[in-house]
């Protein structure tokens, strides 16, 4: 298959923000083992800004790299800004993905959307 970019390899080798957050403000869990990828994204939000993000991923190299990259992209971004981050933006930030791996970036976007949705649900309940 087509090789991964150097940036993807770097994120596989040294994943950023791996792990989970205790008492997160939002959690997004997406994927299933049938497709081969499962992603969990945890966010901590303060005054409408994502102050911390962590991930856990079961998946291929592209899944790990996109998870890692999405946590980097959303840190210190407002919820509104984070919602604008598309799967393409994640892939571009990694200098691209092999075409057959583009679906992994969709999973990263889905995880992000799910985490924010979870945050908003909790926030409206508490508010």
């Amino acid at each position: 298959m087509e090789p991964y970019s150097e940036k993807v390899i770097d994120h596989i080798r040294n994943p950023r923000n791996m792990g989970s957050i205790e008492n997160p403000d939002g959690v997004g869990k997406v994927g299933n083992t049938a497709c081969g990828d499962i992603m969990e994204l945890y966010i901590k939000v303060k005054d409408g800004v994502i102050i911390d993000a962590k991930f856990k991923t079961f998946g291929c190299g592209a899944a790990i790299a996109t998870s890692s990259m999405v946590t980097e992209l959303i840190k210190n971004k407002s919820i509104e800004e984070a919602l604008k981050i598309s799967n393409r933006a994640v892939a571009e930030a990694l200098d691209g993905l092999p075409p057959i791996k583009m679906h992994c970036s969709v999973l990263a976007e889905d995880a992000l959307k799910a985490a924010i949705e979870d945050y908003q649900k909790k926030a409206s309940k508490n508010g």
Binding site: M18, M39, G59, C60, G61
Partner: protein, 389 residues
């Protein structure tokens, strides 16, 4: 960095002695074996020598050996060649659920042409029960095709028993022997096979050359038209250096394969035991005994195969996850799902395939390296919950 190649089921390095045998046939002895002049006849002699070497290796007659471009072509030619030749007699073909894609995709193609295919299920070790083949035979059955040894999990099938069943029913029997050819003795009469596929690059020969054994008297429609090479069974100018290389590889296999198999079996067993002992929640896929000496296929719970492969590659270790052909598809291996693995365990499989040059140091290095990689990936995995264990 040290680099360790444990993907010999994908391809092997060409043995330097094979390369030496091939070299004269590029620029010195370059004639076309179909030509009548001396240039052609020199090349023809080389092709016929290789044909004799390969025929004697499997106890066949030289005229029963057809040179092809490799395993996939041999498989395609066997199935389509019999299907077209025998379609007046019937339209039913029996194969197994764990064949190589070169067989399964050809079967799917033939289904679209009106053929009916029965895919025999396998047991949890990947074995075909010959009795299941017997039960599947109908009046319309024209061909049985069961692989000799599986490329992913290494399971070796009871080919002789299946061949006997096909023979008694008067049905042609093909076996894809690509993975085992050159690694264990093969006798086409004892196996009762009418057709057999093999490929040179799996036994330290060059890439791009294979053979299809076709038993004398077998009705066969050629796959390639446009020349009377190979007694009209396969058009195309001979790949003379490749064919010479295949012959040389077979000669080396005749000499060395028994000792090589012994050495590989012992190293492979060390690798399997080492992994299963040092990493919890791992399992061996395939039959523990009836398996290729070179093959260790392991499933590691909670982690995905490609990420393991990439981390191993960063440490200089080359292996594969499932079949090399399936590594770029998103579906988990059809072989691993056929033996009953969950999607998670099928995605979390690693195949190490040893070669004749594999050393004990290399196996030790894998055993030293793998546990740390698995630990790191498990820490990353949402499926791995230490606290609940």
């Amino acid at each position: 960095m040290k680099r360790i190649y444990l993907d010999h089921a994908a391809t092997t390095p060409t043995d330097p002695r094979v390369v030496q045998a091939m070299i004269p046939y590029f620029s010195d002895i370059y004639g076309n074996p179909s030509s009548l002049h001396s240039f052609g006849q020199e090349a023809r002699t080389a092709v016929e020598t290789a044909r004799n070497q390969i025929a004697s290796f499997i106890m066949a007659r030289p005229e029963e050996i057809v040179f092809t471009s490799g395993g996939a072509e041999s498989d395609n030619a066997a199935l389509k060649g019999i299907a077209y030749a025998r379609r007046e007699k019937g339209n039913h073909i029996i194969t197994s659920a764990i064949e190589h894609h070169a067989i399964l995709e050809t079967c799917k193609f033939l289904e679209k042409q009106g053929f009916q295919i029965t895919y025999i299920k396998v047991d949890p070790n990947g074995l075909v029960d010959p009795y299941d083949v017997k039960k599947a035979i109908t009046e319309r059955t024209i061909l049985v095709s069961i692989m000799h040894a599986n490329n992913e999990i290494g399971t070796i099938q009871p080919i002789s028993e299946i061949g006997k069943i096909a023979k008694e029913a008067g049905i042609y029997f093909h076996t894809d022997a690509v993975q085992i050819f050159g690694h264990a003795p093969i006798n086409v009469d004892e196996l009762h096979v009418d057709l057999l596929s093999a490929s040179a690059h799996k036994l330290y020969g060059p890439k791009g050359v294979g053979v299809l054994y076709i038993r004398k008297g077998t009705k066969f429609t050629p796959f390639l038209h446009g020349g009377d090479q190979e007694r009209g069974r396969r058009a195309s100018t001979h790949n003379v250096p490749g064919i010479v290389g295949f012959g040389a590889a077979v000669e080396l296999a005749k000499e060395g394969m028994v000792q090589e198999a012994e050495k590989m079996t012992s190293l492979r067993n060390k690798l399997i035991k080492g992994i299963l002992d040092s990493i919890e929640d791992t399992r061996l896929n395939g039959d523990p005994i009836k398996r290729l000496p070179s093959n260790a296929n392991i499933s590691v719970a909670y982690v995905e195969g490609e990420s393991m492969l990439l981390y191993l590659d960063m440490e200089g270790i080359a292996c594969s996850t499932g079949s090399a052909c399936t590594s770029s598809s998103l579906e988990p291996s059809h072989v691993l799902t056929a033996i009953g693995l969950s999607h998670e365990l099928a995605h979390g499989s690693l195949r190490f395939s040893l070669g004749k040059f594999t050393s004990e140091d290399e196996i030790d290095y894998v055993l030293d390296t793998l546990p740390g990689i698995i630990e790191k990936l498990r820490t990353m995995s949402p499926l791995y919950r230490k606290e609940t264990r």
